[in-house]
């Protein structure tokens, strides 16, 4: 309408900051790593690449990554889809609490979850008799713990918006409830199920914290292998090769996930009425209560562990959080680490929300021109990359790239918040975009013809309506950054460590007092992240629909 140059200029300005941050802290490290992996001596040498791939250890790890992810995805789907049905297509008292309990595990820090499952499953622990400690089953269980929420929430949201008249028609024609569900409802939910499945597979294939803690060094995924190659074997080229493999795997998954997302049918706001639960639903309600109860077990085990001291029940471990652990295992006290965590996470939250808003703004414009639409498609994929490429790769990339003046930012305090912000960015964008893109442009147009200049119409419509999702996205980003482990463990200096890193250190150093402290610290961290998300859910600010 006004000059096209002006519009392009505005787009460019909005994308400048996110593009710079992503470019310097993500793309450049990525390219460096690719270089290290494919040309370690400075010239193209695919021999090193092939050599690493041929190692039996690498192949075992690759296989384990895919097998674990597949098992966890299928299991999460089987557990989560019935939950989606009962929690989102029926109304009953207590539904809100159940929904909350099912969703909370998703934001728990991975180290905490890993530790909780170890506490449960190790010999001597309450479920030690199952002999699952250190087995792949333990890892799959932990992954399911996390990801049931994705299926419940995504498929639930889609089924909530389904017009139930098709089901009614089937019932009237004589189909039983199960047949109706199988032949009418499930096929309509397939896009949502496929979308959730690809996201869960992605999360599981890039899982780091839980595999590190539960794998015991014997079972690993590509992520943990990258970590070990870097930190133990000091074989950076091998780590780079593995990162490359992972990027390829992840990109394929992201493309698949993107396809299913686009083919999702549009929701119809407000048309569906959710019926009250009847006696027939009692079985499913009992199932939901059972699952919610089981989801509470690992954390309960942690709490119990944190309260059991050598002299019976007590708060000794919590008091010990003000120390640096048995035999000074840490450089700072746990309380200091908590303060660090908060400072870093809040900074990271601000960065990721500002960048995320800018990106979401650009992504939700509907340009007329073909090239405009293509640019937007590109930005969409670019922003999702950090999520897929995984925190470990982000951290490693920054570690090896930004180590020469004038870019020696490793010593700078800003590096950890930026890395965390990159990991949180896709979550923020995915939370804000759906709301912004569902805003009817005619609202703005109507205001324009009433005398509102473009910036004013934008403020009064888009910004006003984005307020709640921005708050929700901020809470999600904060919780995610507080629990972030994969990138932070590479980049945080010991004096400036965060809570998850400190918990991991405590787990790794001998001393029973340390384990108790780790449990206490984990409970603290869990309360913090879960508390933020619970506040968000209850505050009616709206769902942070990050999936």
């Amino acid at each position: 309408m006004r000059s096209r140059v002006g519009v392009v200029g505005a787009y460019a300005l909005a994308l400048a900051a996110p593009a710079t941050v992503l470019g310097v802290f993500f793309l450049w490290p990525l390219v460096t790593m690719i270089g290290l992996g494919l040309a370690p001596e400075g010239r193209l040498d695919l021999g090193a690449f092939g050599e690493v791939l041929a190692r039996p250890r690498t192949q075992r790890v690759l296989l384990q990554t895919l097998a674990l992810a597949a098992a966890a995805t299928v299991s999460s789907a089987l557990v989560g889809i019935p939950l989606a049905h009962i929690l989102y297509r029926r109304r009953f008292r207590g539904r809100g609490v159940l929904r909350l309990l099912v969703v909370l595990p998703f934001v728990m820090p991975s180290v905490v979850v890993g530790f909780a499952f170890t506490t449960l499953l190790r010999s001597g622990g309450p479920l030690g008799f199952l002999g699952l400690d250190g087995t792949p089953v333990a890892i799959v269980l932990a992954m399911v713990f996390f990801n049931v929420a994705v299926f419940a929430r995504t498929v639930g949201g889609a089924s909530e918006a389904l017009d139930s008249r098709m089901e009614d028609a089937a019932r009237v024609l004589g189909a039983t409830p199960w047949t109706t569900y199988r032949t009418v409802t499930l096929p309509r939910l397939l896009p949502a199920i496929a979308g959730a499945a690809s996201i869960v597979f992605l999360f599981c294939a890039t899982a780091f914290g839980i595999v590190l803690v539960l794998g015991g060094g014997r079972i690993g995924t590509i992520e943990t292998e990258i970590y070990f190659q870097t930190v133990q074997f000091l074989d950076l080229p091998a780590a780079s090769v593995l990162s490359l493999v992972q990027i390829v795997v992840v990109m394929v998954l992201l493309v698949l996930a993107g396809r299913t997302r686009r083919s999702r049918p549009d929701r119809h706001a407000g048309a569906a009425i959710v019926p009250r639960a009847t006696r027939r639903d009692h079985g499913l309600i009992a199932y939901a209560v059972l699952v919610a109860g089981l989801l509470l077990v690992p954390i309960t085990a942690l709490v119990i562990r944190s309260l059991s001291t050598t002299s019976g029940w007590g708060f000794d471990h919590y008091l010990a959080l003000a120390t640096t652990g048995e035999r000074n295992s840490l450089r700072i006290t746990v309380v200091e680490a908590l303060v660090n965590s908060l400072q870093i996470a809040v900074t990271a939250m601000v960065i990721s929300v500002i960048l995320g808003m800018l990106v979401a703004l650009v992504l939700t414009r509907r340009p007329r021109s073909g090239w405009g639409r293509r640019v937007i498609g590109l930005v969409d994929h670019a922003v999702m990359l950090p999520l897929g490429v995984s925190a470990v790769t982000v951290g490693l990339g920054i570690l090896i790239t930004l180590d020469e003046a004038p870019f020696d930012l490793r010593a700078s305090w800003i590096i950890v918040p930026v890395a965390q912000a990159l990991v949180a960015l896709p979550l923020v964008v995915r939370s804000i975009v759906p709301v912004l893109s569902s805003i009817e442009p005619r609202l703005r147009e109507g205001l324009a013809t009433l005398g509102a200049p473009p910036w004013r119409a934008f403020l009064d419509v888009d910004m006003r309506m984005a307020l709640r999702p921005i708050l929700a996205a901020s809470a999600l980003a904060l919780a995610a950054c507080l629990g972030e482990f994969g990138a932070t463990v590479f980049l945080a200096r010991p004096e400036y460590a965060t809570l998850p890193v400190v918990i991991y250190r405590l787990l790794g150093t001998p001393g029973t007092g340390n384990l108790g402290m780790a449990a206490a610290a984990s409970v603290l961290l869990a309360l913090l992240t879960v508390g933020i998300m619970a506040l968000l859910e209850r505050s009616r600010v709206g769902r942070a629909a990050a999936f």
């Binding site: 309408m1 006004r2 109507g446 009433l450 005398g451 200049p453 006003r464």
Partner: protein, 243 residues
């Protein structure tokens, strides 16, 4: 942008009152070199001050596009739009004074009725007392006195359209643009609201362009109809459609 070929930039011409559209052409770009879609092509239109004109046509005839272009929401490929002789092509939508009313209100959900009706005055930074007075006046005019503090989602379709009308009138418009304003309402409501809209416009001597696919709506709201078939070329004015 206006194509230089057919543009005739008229200077302020005291004899040309009201809206004057000449040779208007609007084009939608498509992907990858496919031929662009011509939404409207070489349209001429005159609306005298106070005159109510209906643009009648089936879907795809480009009538909504024409309305949006007059409002300033679309940029024409060629042709001119003038008001009282002044060329509008450099005038942005928010300065043209042609409020656009949609078939489903498009009211701001997070503001109450008074907040919506008084929006234009709020933007113009009028004092609060004056805004309140004007809002009350306008609500009385559209038959919804006392509705100041109602939330939008509690209003029926007909009530929302009345609020939309009130909000448009608050701007002291030069010309009202209505895009199928009655089509979302049921028959008795349509007749009633249509008669009210017509009466209000007549009382103020306010002109309007009404876009519709329904001949009855056209007859109800306008003095004159222009028929736009698919392809966006205006046919000869159908003078003998008596209203």
């Amino acid at each position: 942008m206006v194509n230089g070929d057919t543009a005739t930039h008229e200077a302020s011409d005291p004899r040309a009152r009201g809206l004057s559209v000449r040779g208007l052409k609007v084009v939608y770009p498509t992907d990858r070199g496919a031929p662009s879609v011509v939404a409207i092509d070489a349209i001429d239109l005159d609306v005298a001050p106070g005159e109510r004109v209906a643009l009648l046509g089936p879907s795809g005839s480009g009538k909504s596009t024409l309305l949006r272009t007059i409002a300033g929401l679309e940029t024409p490929e060629a042709g001119t739009i003038t008001w009282d002789g002044v060329d509008q092509h450099d005038v942005p939508a928010h300065r043209r004074g042609f409020p656009l009313m949609f078939q489903d209100g498009q009211l701001l959900p997070h503001r109450d009725v008074a907040g919506n009706v008084g929006y234009a005055l709020h933007i113009a930074r009028k004092p609060r007392a004056e805004i309140a007075e004007r809002v009350a006046e306008l609500l009385e005019l559209v038959g919804l006195a006392g509705f100041e503090h109602r939330r939008i989602h509690t209003l029926s379709g007909g009530q929302q359209q009345r609020i939309a009308l009130a909000r448009a009138l608050a701007t002291e418009p030069r010309l009202l643009l209505l895009d199928e304003p009655l089509s979302a309402l049921d028959a008795p409501l349509r007749t009633r609201l249509g008669a009210d809209v017509r009466r209000i416009l007549d009382e103020r001597g306010l002109g309007a362009i009404v876009v519709t696919h329904d001949a009855d709506e056209a007859e109800l709201l306008a003095n004159r109809s222009i028929f736009l078939p698919i392809g966006g070329h205006a046919g000869p004015p159908i003078q003998d459609l008596r209203h």
